[in-house]
């Protein structure tokens, strides 16, 4: 645990001692903020249309909890798809390129401690993003002229989904980073792999029932959707945990290969 913590601190320091951590957080906040503002603006226009059409006695069909938060969290997940590879690309690739990986391999550190320390450090970058999302919603409710009932349970489940999704992205990202010393290749491959797993479910509607079902079950997006809707499903939670575990195990195994590469 102590070793994991020391790796964790080192990695976190590394992220925030360079521009990369700040730029990623700033870009994420600016983009999610823009999408949020844009959606709120659309909602305000729909409200204005509703009120001006003299339907005050009727029921306004759009609810921010059902629609705005869900779409916004969906957009946030797509932004994560772009920014996570930039965070994970350097985790092992840079160590390999600079040669510090050899020092680590020969140190008493276990591979899993190294992987967990780095993984948790990158995961921690998501924390300010989550806090920011909550603050943004509070700020919006304060600005709105009409009292807004935020269904916090539903929103927090969506954020939990975002953390799990981010965790899965990071796990895959550091695995790919452990396989190459080129950061650009690492980032691009991570992005490509994530994109494929993200969209693979879309083709399920064009496939036969059984195969379509397999594609749907593999898709990250399909599992995240339920969280964004406010539904915690056992299978979705297990999927994310297994996805993360699988790629962390692969990363540990991948680090193990560096010891025997070159051996004949």
């Amino acid at each position: 645990m102590k070793n994991i913590l020391s790796i964790y601190k080192k990695e976190l320091r590394l992220i925030f001692s360079t521009w990369i951590g700040y730029i990623i957080i700033a870009v994420f906040i600016a983009l999610t903020g823009y999408f949020f503002q844009d959606m709120v603006d659309q909602f305000a226009r729909l409200t204005a249309q509703f009120l001006s059409s003299g339907q005050r006695g009727g029921v306004f069909p759009y609810n921010i909890n059902d629609i705005l938060f869900r779409y916004w969290l969906g957009n946030s997940s797509v932004i994560l798809l772009f920014v996570i590879p930039l965070l994970t690309m350097r985790s092992f690739s840079e160590e390999k390129k600079s040669g510090t990986i050899e020092m680590m391999m020969t140190s008493p550190l276990r591979h899993y401690q190294l992987v967990l320390g780095k993984y948790l450090a990158i995961l921690t970058v998501l924390v300010p993003l989550i806090i920011y999302s909550i603050l943004l919603v509070i700020y919006f409710t304060a600005l709105n002229d009409v009292p807004v009932t935020v269904q916090w349970g539903l929103f927090l489940v969506g954020l939990l989904g975002l953390v799990l999704l981010g965790g899965a992205f990071i796990a895959l990202g550091i695995f790919i980073s452990s396989m190459t010393e080129n950061q650009i290749i690492s980032a691009l491959t991570t992005f490509g792999a994530l994109l494929i797993i993200w969209v693979i479910g879309w083709s399920s509607v064009y496939s036969s029932t059984g195969f379509g079902e397999i594609l749907r079950r593999i898709s990250l997006n399909n599992h995240y959707e339920n969280f964004a809707k406010g539904v915690i499903s056992l299978s979705d939670s297990i999927y994310f945990i297994l996805f993360i575990t699988f790629f962390l195990i692969l990363t540990v195994s991948s680090l193990g290969t560096t010891r025997w590469r070159g051996i004949k």
Partner: protein, 575 residues
């Protein structure tokens, strides 16, 4: 083998793997082996075999290296881990459960729907249609996807596809869809004229669990339920397009895949067909013959369902017949104390418009107004006959009273007394549930008009023996539960008034659905969700843009710059 050949082998291997993956994708996605997929698979297998045969010495040689063994061990670890993960995930899928945190449980299907899905015997496919230029917050595509996705979680007979109405007009036209948000529920459960299976379809115009589940039931049931409309006593005619006809109701029922048929009981020797799922008696103007009444009692005894719609004034003897079942049908008419605007628009001082429904399966969550052009009271008696339970279905609003009424024998004119009998609200409809095992039908003497409700203990044993076999002939052929609804008005379902108020359509169809044993479906609760009004001032909008999109990110970048600056400064100081 030369270096060039080795490179060639490597790319060939990659190409073979790609072709194999592609062929498997084609096989699984199309649900069968196509010629192209078979050629791809055969080609890749042939090339791989050839590569193996030409390089087998090298492959075996390479196994002697530690590197190869480690690599194999890595691949094995990968496969085992993947296998364990898939296994655990499959277990979680088989024992899946979910917590729906939405306050109105929007993403949870009702137990009735789940049961129906798990017991589906035929494949059911839903085609949903959405538009291209819909608003991004469109309710149709997302709404359909949300609800239909839940249906796929249960059983393995349900699937759905969503189509863009503009991009795929052929499919939309095939099912005569022109409005986004509509769905077509289909199953190959119908039978063509040649006896071959035929696609059975049902339109769902509203994205709601209740409507979709109802449609699934209808397309998946093997035969259409039959509703017989009694004729021969001046009832409203089923196929009549006239104001007093029932053509409109007939159309609605046929759309819901019911089969509707007229039934003249006198011609049928008083026997109601065994395939009758519901007998509707709408607007009797002449009394039933004892033999017909006997036929109705026999039908009820064997678990039949009856809807009696009876206008004020008419058929006193038939009223007495039905009163033997534990209801009191008033010889009166409901008169409004004052005319509201709606009453004025719809009719006259007899036009009852009400939302005063009883707490029943039919009217649970039902809040539309129902309009009864002329109505009489129908209420349960205090002491119900054994085996019969009664519930009040619908009552008038408070601002009315009842007056005694008589129909002039020849002119058919109704004369009301002008004296208030009861003040509102007064009951207009009653639903009866009859446990036919416990219920003994009143004896009908066929040589006389009516015996009324003769208590069983007063009938001599000989008469009992004579009557019993006839009613028992049918026992066991149907459920022992019979259902009966009596409403003191029949005009609310006629062409002139049926679609006049939305409540009339829904009230009548819900009543019929309950009577035809589809009542469990109408109890599915709606998932209403209150909208959120977003009203922002221009300044608030501006703040919502500048603070999260510009100011906070800039502050973060400044923070990063400061941290780097101080670190550099510290390093240079330390240096």
């Amino acid at each position: 083998m030369t270096k060039k050949n080795r490179d060639y082998s490597f790319f060939l291997t990659i190409a073979c793997i790609f072709m194999a993956v592609l062929s498997f994708y084609l096989i699984f996605s199309r649900g069968g082996v196509t010629l192209f997929a078979a050629i791809l698979l055969a080609l890749s297998a042939a090339i791989l075999t050839n590569l193996f045969l030409t390089n087998w010495r090298k492959i075996i040689e390479s196994l002697k290296f530690k590197q190869t063994r480690y690599a194999l061990s890595f691949v094995l670890t990968l496969l085992i881990t993947a296998g364990i993960c898939i296994f655990v995930y499959l277990i979680s899928l088989n024992n899946d459960s979910q917590i729906d945190t939405t306050p109105n449980k929007k993403f949870s299907l009702s137990p009735q729907t789940i049961q129906i899905l798990e017991n589906l015997k035929t494949d059911v496919t839903v085609y949903g249609f959405y538009g291209t230029y819909e608003d991004r917050f469109t309710l149709s595509r997302q709404g359909m996807d949300d609800i239909l996705e839940q249906y796929t979680l249960y059983g393995n007979k349900f699937r759905y596809r969503l189509y863009n109405i503009n991009k795929e007009p052929d499919i939309a036209q095939k099912y005569k869809i022109s409005i986004p948000g509509q769905m077509i529920v289909t199953s190959m459960n119908g039978k063509g004229t040649d006896g071959k299976p035929e696609e059975k379809t049902e339109l769902v115009a509203e994205i709601s669990e209740e409507k979709i589940t109802n449609a699934i039931i209808r397309v998946s049931r093997e035969k259409a339920k039959k509703i017989y409309f009694l004729t021969g006593h001046g009832e409203h005619e089923l196929i009549s397009q006239q104001a007093a006809g029932l053509a409109l109701l007939d159309l609605y029922l046929k759309n819901q895949l019911f089969e509707t048929l007229p039934l003249n009981l006198s011609l049928a020797d008083g026997i109601i067909p065994t395939d009758c799922d519901l007998l509707i008696i709408a607007g009797l103007k002449a009394d039933l013959f004892p033999k017909e009444w006997k036929g109705i009692l026999d039908y009820i005894k064997r678990g039949g369902n009856v809807l009696l719609l009876i206008n004020p004034g008419y058929v006193d003897k038939s009223v007495k017949y039905f009163e033997t079942l534990g209801v009191k049908i008033g010889r009166n008419i409901i008169v409004l104390d004052n005319l509201s605007q709606l009453n004025y628009m719809l009719g006259n001082m007899y036009s009852v418009v009400t939302t005063n429904y009883g707490d029943t399966e039919i009217t649970k969550g039902f809040n539309f107004q129902t309009f009864f052009p002329t109505a009489r009271t129908v209420e349960p008696v205090e002491k119900m006959p054994d085996g019969i339970t009664a519930n009040n279905l619908v009552s008038s609003e408070a601002s009315c009273h009842t007056e005694k009424v008589e129909v002039q024998p020849y002119s058919n004119q109704m004369i009301r007394s002008g004296v208030s009998e009861k003040t509102g609200p007064v009951p207009i409809g009653v639903m009866l549930e009859i446990n036919t095992d416990k219920w003994t039908p009143p004896v009908v003497k066929l040589d006389k008009q009516i015996t009324g409700a003769i208590p069983t203990e007063n009938i001599d044993e000989q008469e009992k023996r004579n009557e019993a076999p006839e009613t028992d002939n049918f026992s066991g052929s149907k459920s022992p539960e019979a259902k009966l609804i009596i409403i003191g008005d029949s005009d609310f379902i006629i062409n002139n008034h049926f679609a006049e108020v939305k409540g009339n359509v829904d009230f009548a169809l819900n009543t019929i659905a309950w009577l035809t044993d589809e009542g469990d479906l109408i109890s599915i609760r709606p998932n209403p969700n209150e909208g959120t009004l977003v009203v922002l001032s221009e300044k608030a909008k501006s703040d919502l843009f500048w603070i999260p999109v510009i100011i906070i990110p800039v502050l973060i970048l400044m923070l990063g710059g400061s941290v780097r600056h101080f670190r550099k400064k510290r390093h240079s100081t330390e240096g």
